[in-house]
């Protein structure tokens, strides 16, 4: 199932990038798709974590939320860059609890934190995340754990 969808994805990708349908080129494309699939199989990189097929239906909901957050965070950072104050920023290092159970969930959370400007995940350990935040407000906001709850709700809830 996983492999079938992976090969289908590769085929779609190949066709979309090439846009040619002559038999010779299609054959070359098929060879490259199969080679890629074989190599990925040998490298053992198509599994539950690296190719989360079971979550794919939930990603649109998650990304629509994430884009909202990214835009908000961008506006905040832009204001700080362009502000006339001498020190518009107050950098913080905070540790927040890792509330997701699975590794995949924790990585999604850490990734979301890094993607929103103003916060960068520095370290992901067994039970906490170390985050560098551009300002105290952002850090406090993150410490409330709203984002973590939202992600758990949107990605992992049935």
């Amino acid at each position: 199932m996983r492999y079938i969808s992976f090969v289908l994805l590769l085929v779609l990708f190949w066709i979309a990038l090439s846009g040619h349908f002559e038999p010779l080129l299609l054959a070359l494309g098929a060879v490259s798709v199969l080679l890629t699939a074989f190599l990925s199989h040998r490298m053992n990189i198509i599994d539950h974590e690296s190719y989360p097929l079971h979550l794919s239906l939930k990603f649109p909901i998650y990304y629509s939320y994430l884009f909202g957050e990214i835009i908000k965070a961008n506006i905040d950072v832009i204001k700080r860059i362009l502000s006339w104050e001498k020190t518009p920023i107050s950098p913080q290092m905070i540790e927040i609890p890792r509330s997701q159970l699975t590794d995949l969930g924790a990585v999604i959370y850490a990734n979301s934190i890094t993607l929103t400007p103003g916060t960068v995940t520095i370290k992901l350990s067994e039970d906490s995340l170390t985050v560098h935040a551009l300002s105290k407000e952002v850090a406090d906001d993150l410490a409330t754990g709203t984002m973590s709850k939202e992600i758990t709700k949107r990605v992992f809830k049935e």
Partner: protein, 100 residues
């Protein structure tokens, strides 16, 4: 017509955000804070520029390629930022923190 105006606005705002990020990496005091400025150019600025171009391209292979460029940037930039921050911290580079 509306699409043209919209895509111009997106393009110009995106490019302007790029410059803002560029100012940011010179204005902020240390490496970790500069990462946040780079975050702007990697997310919103890239998104707006590529979206503006995609509006011009319409439904075509070009639009698909733009979408792929965005997806790649979107997946790789947080990985790069995180790896960079982790490596910097691991090697003992101390962030300048607010002393308040």
């Amino acid at each position: 017509m509306i699409i043209d105006i919209l895509s111009s606005i997106l393009l110009l705002v995106g490019a302007a955000l790029g410059i803002v990020g560029g100012i940011g990496i010179h204005r902020f005091p240390d490496f970790y804070t500069r990462l946040h400025a780079i975050g702007i150019t990697d997310t919103l600025s890239a998104l707006m520029i590529l979206l503006g171009l995609a509006l011009q391209a319409g439904w075509s292979i070009a639009a698909f390629k733009l979408a792929m460029i965005f997806v790649f940037l979107f997946f790789t930039s947080p990985t790069a930022s995180h790896a960079l921050a982790y490596a910097a911290q691991h090697s003992g580079l101390k962030p300048k923190l607010d002393q308040k």
